[in-house]
């Protein structure tokens, strides 16, 4: 199959593939933004136990976690224009990238909502009560006390989601988006050096996901400062040590897979 293996092609493919890295990262960033918004909207009804909306949230999360992303991609690519036509929006001219970002956004949103829900619930209720006790308003208590702690809990899960999303974007080529995997396929068929092109592709993905992991790890360390071993200046004020957040995080099932209806 194809031309004989030649390792020098791997290197020559690097810059060509890296030129499409931007599109891959654009899909990741775009879907993260969409996913964050959707995730919040979906998580709120379940956090505040709003009757009918809560059931909708549950079904939404279950659907997106219970079906493969590839099926969702095709479903939205073919289905969304028809549904939007019913309310008078014409999507037939919209670029494919819009559908791709929207689908990945909705998909990630389901996982984000689980992450948000789990991390807000993981903050000790006493923290909120203590905030009220010192006279904070509901909003102050949320932004100053609950949010920073929930954020710290959410980061490891978030990091997993981002990396999973990066890997999932490799499926966008099925709809004809020229991101890295699509480019690798084209390069392969043009030069008949498929193996070299896919090796280069895999290496780039590896480097990007490794970098993302390291960056998010640094962020986690930064947010978890209050959980780090006490510095002498702070020990005096500590009454007792709380259990590590890591244990809480381990219990949050926001890995890929699982519908939980």
């Amino acid at each position: 199959m194809g031309a004989p293996f030649d390792f020098s092609f791997v290197f020559s493919f690097f810059p060509k593939l890296a030129s499409t890295l931007g599109i891959t990262l654009l899909i990741v960033a775009g879907s993260l933004v969409v996913g964050m918004i959707v995730g919040f909207l979906i998580a709120l009804p379940r956090l505040y136990r709003i009757p009918a909306l809560r059931t909708f949230s549950q079904v939404y999360v279950s659907f997106f976690r219970g079906t493969p992303i590839l099926i969702q991609l095709f479903l939205f690519y073919y289905g969304l224009p028809e549904i939007l036509k019913l309310i008078g929006i014409d999507m037939s001219k919209a670029p494919v990238l819009v559908f791709v970002i929207l689908t990945y956004g909705l998909h990630t949103g389901a996982f984000m909502s689980e992450m948000i829900r789990a991390s807000v619930m993981a903050v000790d209720r006493g923290q909120l009560e203590a905030a009220y006790a010192v006279g904070m308003t509901g909003r102050q208590a949320f932004t100053r006390i609950v949010l920073p702690q929930a954020l710290a809990i959410a980061v490891p899960v978030f990091s997993n989601l981002v990396i999973a999303l990066l890997k999932d974007t490799s499926l966008a080529f099925t709809l004809g988006v020229m991101e890295m995997t699509g480019k690798a396929q084209t390069l392969g068929s043009v030069t008949q050096h498929f193996i070299e092109s896919y090796i280069a592709l895999a290496l780039i993905y590896l480097v990007v996901s490794f970098t993302l992991e390291k960056v998010l790890k640094a962020m986690e360390v930064r947010l978890m400062r209050h959980e780090l071993p006490d510095t002498p200046a702070r020990t005096g004020f500590r009454i007792h040590k709380k259990g590590s957040y890591r244990r809480v995080v381990a219990g949050i099932g926001t890995e890929k897979g699982g519908a939980e209806l």
Binding site: M1, G2, F5, S62, F63, R65, G66, T67, P68, I69, L70, I71, Q72, F74, L75, Y78, G79, E82, I163, L166, K167, D168, T169, S170, L171, T181, Q185, G188, F194, I195, Y198, I199, L201, A202, Y205, L206, S209, F210, G253, E255, K256, G257, G258, A259, E260, L261
Partner: protein
């Protein structure tokens, strides 16, 4: 164009015939992946000199790259290796006689192995060290202690994560269409291409996957209940 509800049902019936292929791919990759994962996890926990570094590199590489690239690398790379080896050894084996589904089996097993190795490793680490010491103290050998004492507990702990891996592989099996294996996803494409009703066909496919996922989850919940019977705490 309107949504053709009756075609959803027609597509659904057509897709049912592809369920065994999807389940077969999932079952094979999960089973082989479990064996690879078990070996990888034990090797890394016991820090076997060379093997543990290989296992770490393998897990890092697989988890850092998309499943699709594994499939494509195997699909294009394996025939070259197989042909070279068979020519060197003078065997009459040709890579073209490997069935398409074989590539899916091999590649997905490799993918599943890396993810399962992490799941099993965290399960093994969750077992109290005292359990192993107790097993030694009543005279068990290491393999005995691992098989009879540590593994059953580790698997019980990692059951929810294992179920997630199984579901992940079920969803991942949709990639098999890239090497022209007719699974549910490919079947939906085939069914739809006759009359261009892609949306309806994929709705049916999504319904089937959703159902299968929920089924796996229910079964895991039952299994978890059964497996954790010993662990009810309290006295008697």
């Amino acid at each position: 164009m309107k949504i053709d509800v009756t075609f959803i049902w027609t597509a659904f019936v057509h897709l049912l015939s592809a369920i065994p292929t999807t389940l077969l791919i999932t079952a094979v990759s999960v089973t082989v992946g479990f064996i690879i994962g078990l070996i990888g996890a034990v090797v890394r926990i016991y820090k076997v000199p060379v093997l543990s570094q290989i296992a770490t590199a393998y897990v890092t590489f697989i988890r850092g790259t998309p499943m699709l690239t594994h499939l494509l690398l195997i699909y294009f790379g394996l025939p070259v290796i197989v042909d070279a080896v068979s020519a060197a050894l003078g065997l009459g084996f040709k890579s073209s006689s490997i069935p398409m589904i074989g590539f899916a089996f091999i590649s997905f097993s490799i993918t599943a192995g890396a993810y399962m190795s992490e799941v099993i490793r965290s399960g093994l680490l969750a077992v109290n060290r005292g359990q192993l010491e107790a097993a030694y103290s009543i005279g068990m050998t290491t393999p005995q202690a691992l098989r009879r004492i540590v593994l059953p507990q580790a698997l019980a702990v990692s059951l929810p994560n294992l179920s997630n891996s199984v579901i992940g592989m079920l969803h991942g099996s949709t990639l098999a269409f890239t090497v022209s294996v007719v699974d549910i996803n490919a079947k939906a494409q085939i069914v739809a291409s006759t009359n261009w009703k892609f949306f309806e066909a994929y709705l049916a496919a999504a319904a089937i996957f959703w159902g299968l996922t929920l089924l796996i989850e229910r079964l895991t919940a039952l299994l978890e209940k059964r497996i954790n019977l010993y662990n009810r705490g309290g006295v008697a």
